[in-house]
């Protein structure tokens, strides 16, 4: 793959929740426009790492950390406001979380809060993002019905479109397909591959096959440590570390 600039860098990142040492000295460079998969068993710290990038861990009262994270070379705690950071780094959660609003208002929620009130512009954003998330054709006739009425797969694509609507540079996916059927999963993956020219994407997944299908590089986390990070094809054909091999061949996890 073509070497591009670094987008995000974590530098010896340590994270604790109370006395639990959740992430241990993680150093990763995430490249612009790549899809990086993070795999690993439950409680390996993958989601914690993801939520560190958009500072969502801050919501936990017993969270504390050491180390640095840089976005485009700027420290995310010192050089960028938290709102700016989260605008640039969007997130799709494991379970689809449609707000109890209409389809249209779900997408418009972010732009409205950032000051876009013009109905025409909002309509344009809604159509563009829903199209990008492969949902437009299914919902264009019922934009004003409640988003709760959509199916699980549609809801998750709605959440993806909602993330796109605030025009992020980076999209974080926290096990986005864990509650979805294979067809919906395929649509999300298709969207991810289509987004490559535009966004840097980080995918946390339990599904190693999914990592193999979509990502350029894959990182393997185990008990809060980064065990291995390599091009996906290398990782899945000849992993350098024994633990990785054990995990990939299903010996634990």
């Amino acid at each position: 793959m073509v070497e591009k600039g670094n987008k995000l860098n974590a530098r010896s990142l340590n994270i604790w929740f109370g006395t639990i040492y959740a992430l241990k000295k993680i150093t990763i460079d995430i490249l612009e426009n790549e899809i990086l998969s993070i795999i690993g068993p439950a409680n390996s710290g993958k989601s914690t790492f993801l939520r560190a990038l958009n500072r969502l861990n801050d919501l936990n009262s017993d969270f504390h950390f050491e180390g640095n994270i840089f976005l485009d070379g700027k420290d995310i705690y010192r050089d960028i406001s938290i709102g700016e950071l989260r605008k640039k780094i969007g997130m799709v959660f494991a379970l689809p979380v449609p707000l109890p609003l209409s389809v249209f208002e779900n997408i418009a929620y972010g732009p409205r809060r950032h000051g876009i009130q013009d109905q025409g512009r909002l309509s344009e954003i809604v159509e563009r993002t829903l199209t990008a998330a492969y949902l437009w054709d299914e919902v264009k006739d019922r934009l004003h019905t409640s988003a709760i009425k959509l199916s699980g797969g549609q809801q998750q694509r709605l959440c993806l479109a909602r993330t796109l609507a605030v025009e992020p540079d980076i999209i974080l996916y926290d096990e986005p397909c864990s509650s979805l059927d294979p067809i919906s999963t395929a649509k999300i993956e298709e969207a991810m591959l289509r987004f490559k020219h535009k966004y840097t994407q980080i995918l946390v997944t339990n599904n190693t096959k999914q990592a193999a299908r979509v990502s350029d590089r894959t990182a393997f986390f185990l008990m809060g440590e980064l065990v291995e990070l390599d091009l996906t094809e290398n990782m899945f054909t000849c992993p350098a570390r024994k633990e990785t091999n054990d995990y990939l061949s299903g010996r634990f996890g």
């Binding site: 958009n54 969502l56 919501l59 009262s61 709102g83 700016e84 950071l85 989260r86 605008k87 640039k88 969007g90 997130m91 959660f93 379970l95 979380v97 707000l99 109890p100 929620y109 972010g110 809060r113 950032h114 409640s146 709760i148 959440c159 909602r162 993330t163 605030v166």
Partner: protein, 283 residues
């Protein structure tokens, strides 16, 4: 005779039913008797004229107005304070021992007898702050009394909004206050409103806290400012039924009817609102 489990069951269920009936019947009895004996007293004149002849004749207008003022004053004080405090406690305060202690204290304050609030109001508002017995002192006292109710119900309503709504909103780069304003409050509003209505009905019906902070025994005119004493419906009912001899039964029951109707209709509104909310709740 061998015990037969099915006969035992029949007997037990019958006893349970009887207990329920025993509890429910007095409600109907009270409502019925008040309407039956008080309805004939209700007239436009009764509602809009001042009491005469040492409260043995005339109407209850000043008491209705006084109660209205008190409820309004209570709301002005306790509504913003209570709702904002609930927001502070659920959304902003750090989850530490002190916060937990404060929450515990507030919840338990809801169970403190109303007469103790009356004492507190007398001590601090009437005497210490030199407000005297006045609408202001009474409203503040009632306000302090309903504050735990408003905070507790609002807090429950806020807590019932899923955490994920906040996370989604924050993850879109929306600020904390805007997240609360647009992703939390709208969904908690019906619950908060229910609490507020219950607080109003409590403030309208309580007697003990206003005994020494505002209530005038007999004041056949309307108050002019918040520093005046005022009559109030519950206290008026207490006075004409225990302190003044030879008041017509009709007037006593009429007063009870008006008070009960005001408070019951407020509660009915709260019940309807809450059931609507439960039906509409989608998450």
């Amino acid at each position: 005779m061998k015990p037969n489990p099915y006969r035992t069951e029949r007997i037990a269920f019958t006893l349970l039913l009887i207990s329920t009936v025993v509890i429910i019947l007095p409600v109907f009895f009270i409502v019925f008797i008040i309407i039956q004996k008080g309805f004939s007293a209700i007239s436009w004149e009764f509602l809009t004229s001042i009491p005469k002849m040492g409260m043995r004749e005339g109407g209850i207008f000043p008491a209705i107005v006084g109660t209205l003022y008190l409820v309004l004053g209570t709301l002005i004080f306790a509504l913003p304070l209570g709702v904002f405090s609930a927001i502070y406690l659920t959304e902003y305060a750090q989850d530490n021992l002190l916060t937990r202690l404060i929450k515990l204290a507030i919840i338990n304050l809801a169970g403190v007898p109303s007469v103790v609030y009356g004492l507190f109001g007398l001590g601090i508002f009437v005497i210490f702050l030199k407000l005297g017995a006045s609408i202001l002192a009474g409203s503040l006292t009632l306000g302090v009394m309903v504050l735990p109710i408003i905070i507790t119900t609002s807090k429950e309503a806020l807590d019932s909004v899923p955490k994920s709504f906040r996370e989604v909103s924050l993850s879109l780069g929306v600020s904390k206050w805007q997240t609360i304003r647009y992703s939390v409050l709208p969904h908690a509003l019906p619950g908060i409103l229910t609490g507020i209505i219950l607080a109003i009905s409590r403030a309208a019906g309580e007697t003990a806290p206003i005994l020494f902070t505002v209530a005038a025994f007999y004041l056949p005119k309307l108050p002019h400012s918040v520093f005046d004493q005022a009559m109030a419906l519950p206290y008026h009912l207490y006075v004409i039924s225990t302190q003044v001899p030879n008041v017509e039964v009709k007037i006593r029951y009429g007063t009870a009817l008006v008070l009960m109707m005001i408070v019951l209709s407020l509660n009915l509104a709260a019940i309807i609102l809450r059931s609507q909310f439960r039906k509409r709740k989608k998450w």
